[in-house]
Structure formats: C-alpha cells, structure tokens
C-alpha cells in the first residue's frame, strides 16, 4: 500500500469514527423534541440543573417575565414544575416552518429531581430574567475522628 493510499484510508477511518461518535452523542442526548407545546400554548424555557454535594441548583431563563408574582414553582413527588407568565405574548409568523401565526404567553418546564431532595426547604430567587431554585439534599453527615 502506498503512502497516499494509506493516508486516504486513515482519513476515511477517522471520518467514520467521528461519524460514529456523533451518532452516539445524538443517541445520548436523546431525540430533540420541539421547545413549545401547542396544546397548552406554552414555550419550554432553557433550564440548567447543577448538582452540588449538599444541594441541587436549578436555573431557568425566562425572558419577557418581569415579576416574581408571575412565576410558580411546585415540587410534586420528584417533579419540579415551573410555570411563568410573560408580560407580552411571543408570536411566530411561522413556527418550525409549519405552524402559522401562533403565539405563546407562558412558559412551562418539568424537571425530574433526584430522590434525596428536601423540597420543603427549597428557596428561589428571580433576577434579570433568570430564576434560580436551590433545593437542599437530604444528606446524612458523620464526622470521622482522625487518630
């Protein structure tokens, strides 16, 4: 096999491996469903969950929400349900290239929480359009004496 042929083969294998990784990545991140719910007329906001040693921190981006009074945060079982009303509706002349003249005026997001959280001690704050919810974990702590 000449050097050129080897390089071409190597390049082909590299691309195949890249492609396989991409497919694996897509499979891991799951099927992307649309970020809107036409039946409820609500948008799904972007949200991020960060797990620390003793607490879970959830942040949610809520543009067009101005007042904390327009936000509801409920924890039911292991579901954290966030709903918020926008101060103005968001209109799309076409949405996903298919739906015409649809508008939304609320957000809704359901996030699965781990088993070991303490929902009664959760706190939330809303600043600059970002909602932050902190939920403590039930952690059994012991101090081990060092001898």
């Amino acid at each position: 096999m000449s050097e050129d042929e080897f390089s071409r083969l190597f390049e082909r294998i590299r691309r195949e491996i890249d492609r396989a990784f991409r497919e694996l990545e897509e499979a891991m991140w799951g099927e992307e469903k649309p970020m809107f719910d036409l039946s409820r007329r609500c948008l799904e906001p972007l949200a991020h969950v960060r797990e620390e040693e003793d607490r879970i921190i959830v942040t949610v981006d809520l543009p067009y929400v101005s007042r904390k009074e327009d936000i509801s945060v409920d924890i039911s079982g292991n579901n954290l349900v966030i709903e918020a009303k926008m101060r103005r509706s968001v209109q799309y002349s076409t949405l996903a290239g298919v739906y015409r003249d649809v508008s939304f005026d609320t957000y809704r997001k359901v996030i699965k929480l781990p088993e070991n959280v303490e929902p009664s001690e959760a706190t939330a704050r809303f600043r600059k359009g970002i909602l932050e919810i902190v939920i403590p974990k039930r952690v059994r702590k012991f101090r081990v004496r060092v001898e």
Binding site: M35, L43, L46, H48, G129
Partner: protein, 252 residues
Amino acid sequence: MVEKISSFSIIEAKEVKPRPVVVCGVPDAGLVGAIAASYLVRKLEMEEVGYLDSDELPPVLVFHKGKPSMPIRIYEKEGVVVIISEVAIPLSLMLDLAKAIVDWAIKKGAQRIVVLGGMPVPNRMEIEKPEVVGAAILDEDRELLNKLGIEVLKEGFLSRIHALIAKECFKEKVPCITLLAQSFLEYPDPGAAAAVLEKLSDIIGVDIDVKPLLEEEEEIRVKLRELMRKALPTIVRQTRKGYEYTTPLMYA
C-alpha cells in the same frame, strides 16, 4: 471562486477585497460570538459575499425573508469581513473550520482575525456589565489592546473554537485577537455580545451602537433557545475540561 481547505469549501460569490479584518462569530458559550456577529452584519448593513460548506455539517439550508442561505456565511463591508455560523459546529469539524478560516484569511492577506466569544462565569446573574478580556497572538496586538484599554489575558488557557483559531494563527504568525466577555454558558447572552462589540468597535475603528441590541435582548433570548440547546452538548463537553479556570503549569 471556490477554495477547498481541509473538509471545507469556501465559495466567494463576490471576490472579497484583499487585506480585510476578519471577524468570526460561531455558536459557543452563551452564543455570544454568533449574536455579536449577526448584529454587526445587520447594523453595518453588510453584503453577503460567500459561504463555507462541508459535507459533515448538519443537513440544513437557512431561509431569511424567503431567500435561501448557507448556514456558515461570509459578509463584507468597507474592509471588514464577518464569518458567521447559524448552526452549531460539530466537535469533529471544529479544527477543520478553524484551519479553513485561517488559511482563507492568509490568502486574503487579512490584517487581523478577531474572534468574538463568551467566557462562562458562574456568577453571571450578579454581573451588570460583563468585563471583556482580549487574548492576542502577536506583540503588536497586545500593544493595541493595551492602548485601547482592553484587559489583556496574561495567564490562562483559551479553549474551544477560539483556541483552535488562535493556534492556527500562532503557527502561521497571523495577527489574531480573541475577545471574550463574561457570559452565561447555557443561555443566550446578548448583554455579553454587546460588551464584546463595544471593544471590537475600538479595534476596527467602526462605530457600533449596541443600544438596540440591548433593547431587543429578551426577544433574542426567546428566539435563540433552540440554537442554544443544539450547541450546548458540544460546548459543555469542551467546557467540562475546565481549562479556562486552570492555572498554566509554568506559573503555578
């Protein structure tokens, strides 16, 4: 004119004038670079002059006002060229894209490449006006940053697409400045985009009024949710390596 560089083809529908300043904005942390580049194109009423394409890019064609466009496009006006991507770049293509941009810029005799982006910080919620740092490849670019009062990155790592472009520029001794604003990682951040544009304005000597960008901040955040979600897996994978927060070995 068609150029093939790495896995990318660069197609100039109109020949780009030599010696431009090349500004790059691709989806990354907070979509800062992409938002800033898109605003710049709109604000300066730049002309679309070409595009970059690769078989490995997501299979999409973008439509704006009924007209089809390629997802990675080249715009030009009065010596400034903007390269903007409307799609998340797969990790496996980033190096090829960086090489394609830098090789093409060299062929055009570019005065300088300026890469715009975000630098994710955990306390972004508390920050009113994001700070911007500039990382420069050549001494003269560091001098320029100092002269313009832009904080120069002295110790630390660049990462992700910014690092790939900067590395290619370092190898080829191409003037390159990376402007990074404190930003959200996972939410579109027009405030950070406005901050980098203010500094870019000083570098390229073109007035850029960012007030309208800040006024339409909420609209941008709503509309870019989907793109942010698509770009995030790649950004998170690269950010998890955490180099931005790492002290380099030599100075530990």
